[in-house]
């Protein structure tokens, strides 16, 4: 058992920076213990720190963002775990056209059926490539799945009850981004930019139920962690940035588009929850909010981190900026036509 995965392991250490040394003494259990102990200690030593109005407002927004996205995340993770456990690898080879140029639109449209958020689609796209799917097609799927799936579309409709074209515009623009990026990769992408860590997952011998449960646990811890980071950023921005400042920015057409694109990248809100945040930014134009909704699921700080972890830094440093430019252009074009 130990001898077989050895070379694979070394490969992975190369691809992923900052991996633990095998004989580390401090375990994550200890770290968790300390992490829990620090706030509890502060709670008794400095109770007044927990009473300030700003901190309480911050905590309320932070908890609200986390709770709001949690059920969507759980559904997405359960589904991607089910695909990992119960859909055979050969299925994808049969389902997708052999030519990457043709596989891109098929994979992009297939994104509509994976009700996950962007955190869930990165590992799925990674395993698609490992299963022999053309990278261009897997990347089109990676970009389209978090933006055009039914949960996101319904959430967008619910968040913009007076603006039905918002959900339509988001669907079209996001699909467009996925197709353009897929074809760009098919035309210019270099295989050497991709560095996929091999998965040791000993699916041989493991029951499907076990794979399902362990995948769901793992993916939730992964995506949930990034969700919390997004919640921290969103709550901080919500409490720190004065509404008046946003209102000033919103008055300029060009500036508002740029700021909304930037907000989408740094807020890193799950695609299943971002429509509600966009809806609350009422002073911004509809087009700039469409930019926010199209950019958010394809480029943000947590996605860039996830992508460099899954596909390697050489990939992320090229893919993310290109996607950002394509996403802003697609959203502006669709917004100009529809809104």
């Amino acid at each position: 058992m130990h001898s077989a995965p050895e070379p694979v392991l070394r490969d992975d250490v190369d691809a992923t920076a900052g991996i633990d040394l095998p004989d580390r003494r401090i375990t994550s259990g200890d770290l968790l213990f300390v992490l829990i102990l620090i706030p509890i200690g502060l709670y008794f030593l400095r109770p007044d720190w927990f009473q300030g109005a700003a901190l309480q407002a911050w905590s309320t927004v932070f908890v609200a963002v986390c709770l709001q996205a949690l059920p969507f995340l759980v559904i997405g993770v359960l589904l991607s775990a089910a695909i990992t456990a119960f859909v055979p690898a050969s299925f994808f080879e049969r389902a997708l056209p052999a030519r990457p140029g043709l596989a891109v639109p098929v994979a992009g449209a297939a994104g509509a059926v994976l009700p996950g958020c962007e955190c869930a689609s990165v590992p799925v796209a990674g395993s698609l490539i490992r299963r022999g799917v053309a990278p261009a097609a897997a990347l089109a799927f990676l970009l389209s799945a978090p933006a055009i799936n039914p949960i996101v579309v319904v959430a967008t409709v619910v968040a913009f009850p007076d603006e039905p074209m918002m959900a339509v515009g988001r669907f079209i623009a996001s699909l467009l981004v996925a197709l353009v990026m897929g074809w760009l990769w098919a035309a210019f992408g270099q295989p050497s930019w991709l560095r996929l860590p091999q998965r040791v997952a000993g699916s041989s011998g493991a029951g499907r139920g076990t794979i399902f449960v362990t995948t769901a646990q793992h993916d939730f811890a992964h995506a949930g962690g990034f969700l919390v980071v997004g919640g921290l950023t969103a709550a901080t921005l919500n409490v720190v940035v004065p509404r008046a400042w946003l209102d000033t920015v919103a008055e300029s057409a060009v500036l508002s588009v740029l700021v909304m694109a930037l907000l989408a990248v740094i807020l890193a809100i799950c695609s299943e929850a971002d429509a509600f945040v966009a809806a609350s930014l009422t002073s911004f134009s509809l087009t700039s909010r469409l930019v926010f909704l199209v950019v958010g699921p394809v480029v943000d700080v947590k996605l860039i981190a996830l992508q460099s972890g899954t596909f390697g830094p050489r990939f992320a440093v090229r893919f993310a900026p290109a996607t950002l430019v394509v996403a802003v252009c697609c959203a502006l074009a669709v917004g100009w036509v529809l809104l």
Partner: protein, 253 residues
């Protein structure tokens, strides 16, 4: 991190989510209709984490001596460091800690003051008939949400409010010019999209503190301009101001 840590985190998060969902606590964060989804998510996490915890508990004691026929991927301590649970998952402890230690209350005067903005009347209300309904049963006033009162009070034609009393509920919000308002936070989905609705109270605040919930029965007066924003704010002249306990559902949906 280790799988046991990961699974304990799932148990903690699932448990606290269930607790928040099954009590009224969730009403401070999300819409009431979201409760079934929270219960579902909490239950799934609790089950996933419990399965993992029960299964991994003995493995931890044998640590690096993974059984040769162990089916779980990455179960041996050696492989765990490369392919074990993601360390970013440790962040999951934060919402748990915040909920347990701070138990953040519903947004109130702090947020209403910072996010003060002109009241936007939703389209769904704009088209409704601009005529006030009858008084409450057995009373000489009509109860209404702050937003509805604001819509009538800011309308071009306010004839329907003349000679009528209304009853409003909200929290005390001191104004920059020394006066005070009664305020309510509206959310469309969760507390991240909070938008305040305020009605200026044309009367003495007395000993009332910010965030104290009050019930006001009073009559209409012409709108005044907000001291900072220069947009019109609705006004009520109180006949009575009564402190009340905070409602279970603090937001106007």
């Amino acid at each position: 991190m280790e799988r046991l840590t990961q699974n304990l985190l799932l148990v903690l998060l699932g448990g606290i989510t269930l607790r928040v969902a099954l009590t009224d606590a969730h009403l401070a964060y999300v819409q009431a209709g979201f409760r079934p989804f929270l219960i579902f998510a909490g239950a799934v996490l609790l089950v996933l984490g419990s399965i993992g915890t029960v299964r991994d508990w003995p493995l931890r004691q044998s640590d690096h001596e993974a059984e040769p026929d162990d089916p779980a991927p990455g179960a041996s301590g050696h492989v765990d460091h490369g392919h074990g649970p993601p360390r970013i998952g440790l962040f999951l402890v934060l919402p748990v800690a915040v909920l347990l230690l701070i138990a953040p209350p519903a947004l109130g005067a702090y947020t209403a003051d910072r996010q003060a903005q002109a009241i936007a009347i939703p389209e769904s209300l704009q088209n409704s008939a601009l005529r006030l309904g009858p008084d409450d049963d057995g009373a000489d006033y009509r109860s209404m949400p702050l937003l509805e009162y604001a819509m009538y009070a800011l309308a071009d034609d306010t004839f329907t409010l003349e000679d009528r009393s209304v009853r409003l509920q909200g929290f005390v919000l001191p104004r920059p010019d020394g006066g005070w308002s009664v305020a309510r936070i509206r959310i469309s989905c969760c507390a991240a999209d909070a938008v305040p609705v305020t009605v200026v109270v044309d009367g003495d605040r007395g000993p009332l503190q910010a965030d104290q919930w009050v019930e006001i029965i009073g009559t209409w007066a012409p709108p005044v301009a907000h001291p900072d924003g220069d947009y019109p704010e609705p006004v009520i002249v109180p006949r009575s101001v009564t402190p009340i306990p905070p409602p279970a559902s603090p937001y106007e949906g």
